[in-house]
Point group: C2
Chain length 335, copies 2
Amino acid sequence: MRTIDAFNHFFPKRYYDALLDSPAGQKDIGKRVRGIPALSDIDLRLKIVEQFPDYTQVLSHGLPPIERLFGPDKAVEMAKVANDGLAEVVARHPKHFVGWSAMLPMNVPDAAAKEAERVLKNGANAIQLGTNANGEPLDEKKFWPIYEIIAKSGRPILLHPARTREMPDYPTEKVSKYEICSVLGWPYETGVTLARFVFSGIIDRNPGLTIVAHHLGGVIPYLEGRVGHSFDQLGARTSDEDYGAVLRGLKKRPYDYFKDFYGDTAVEGAKAATVCGIDFFTPERVVFASDCPFDKEKGPGYIRDTIKVLNSLGLSNADMEKICFRNAQKLFGIA
Amino acid sequence: MRTIDAFNHFFPKRYYDALLDSPAGQKDIGKRVRGIPALSDIDLRLKIVEQFPDYTQVLSHGLPPIERLFGPDKAVEMAKVANDGLAEVVARHPKHFVGWSAMLPMNVPDAAAKEAERVLKNGANAIQLGTNANGEPLDEKKFWPIYEIIAKSGRPILLHPARTREMPDYPTEKVSKYEICSVLGWPYETGVTLARFVFSGIIDRNPGLTIVAHHLGGVIPYLEGRVGHSFDQLGARTSDEDYGAVLRGLKKRPYDYFKDFYGDTAVEGAKAATVCGIDFFTPERVVFASDCPFDKEKGPGYIRDTIKVLNSLGLSNADMEKICFRNAQKLFGIA
């Protein structure tokens, strides 16, 4: 089965070098990315891709988002370096890579909107956003022009969790322990951000906007009951904000917005979660993704596990084709 | 099929009156609990129970936890009032209620340990804990004597999410929006607290301790892949704490501890989530629970939906019996 891997990570060389030179790159983040060679070593990466028949990748940048690494003075320029670098890698290896997603300097919202326009004209197949911009929720009005541009392009947002200490719905990582914030908190924050897209009205204002939520929707499919019943009762628990008015201002039931998002299959090969997530999003709105190279083997592990799990589900051939490549073709505009 | 509902909520009268008189009770919380009569009206509650054949409840207190409502000066006495009140309700209606779970004044840890001893001697079938104690994580050492007492009793902890502004792994609710913290954050925090029980060593020190995680384990079953693979790599993302040592200090793989927790079926009747949760915990470690009376009908809705979902899964009769009553009989010591 042809397989397009919609969400996995790679650093183009010039950007990678700048990352390692940045203050954050000289601490934890540098340690982490150096430990996973297939994040930046193109030869190694090509070999990983070649292990799987009829398998190609749409490359996304590695994390963290650019605004975590560079201040407003550098982020705008570095986003260009990163995006043009990723475009070049893909252009040079068309048999391995069939597309790429750009990132934006979210700490300079005007420039982020311009960069979105630039890369979408230059062939970016998606825009990757962290679930917050240095702790600022994505539903703040200053980011709204960005969503308008992306919606008009017809290309999707790939929503990736981003760690932070300041995000209002998110753990204060400074005193969090045992990496709980990244292991459990990231999928939680993915759900948080989807909810903010819905309730802020961004989705209603941009009906063409497509959002692919990494890790099969974060926590949303498992919390389907709460997403339905509890959000239907929005306002019942609160008296200082009029959330009843927010609810009445939406064009449809909250639950129905969540059902319109896309999820990818990057759940480290967990079978029951894959079944639950496909049930929630339906095969019309799930794309194959591996999160390569973040497995223990630092490359092929999650690709292999995810293919194996999908093959074990007894899905119809038509549904498998949608999940493995047809949905990705449509979303990314890939032949 | 006989059904024991392991987790649902009721306020005994004297405690309910004190709650409404408390500062928090005069604001949001009072508004909320007044709006759901079956939380405190015994006649109404009995009628709800009677709608379902061969169905009984193990009563738990309503939320929030006592330490959110009363300062250290009052919480100790009010916990006794609440617990003795709930015991009395159950004793008076043995055909409807087959057990009860106590709560502890967690803002006075010594007194909480004593209250745990007292109620477990007096027939409490479980101890209900919020996932944090006024924002303090449950793995703080001052709470450890409580777990020792509960573990020795053989009775389970019923772990219920508790909202807070201060919990280190938890959203800062003050600036959170759209009730995201309760709708999505509660199940997240359930996962956080289970992780803290594991990594702090509390489970290793108290091998007899049984924890039933409300809402079918919060987010844990859906995040099975991360709970496995990401916690196996604990320490890889961090350099300021030696989490590698934490990992090596555990008696088994982190994943295996999570598999030993119990979950209840209170997921508002969501079928795919129910399947995913039972797959994770196995039918040996799932108990029926409805979260009555928090459905839109304010009473029977989730009971009916949860029975219906379980009946639709095609489980063997033996597995259905375990989930519907046999596991609860063992955990709670019910004939």
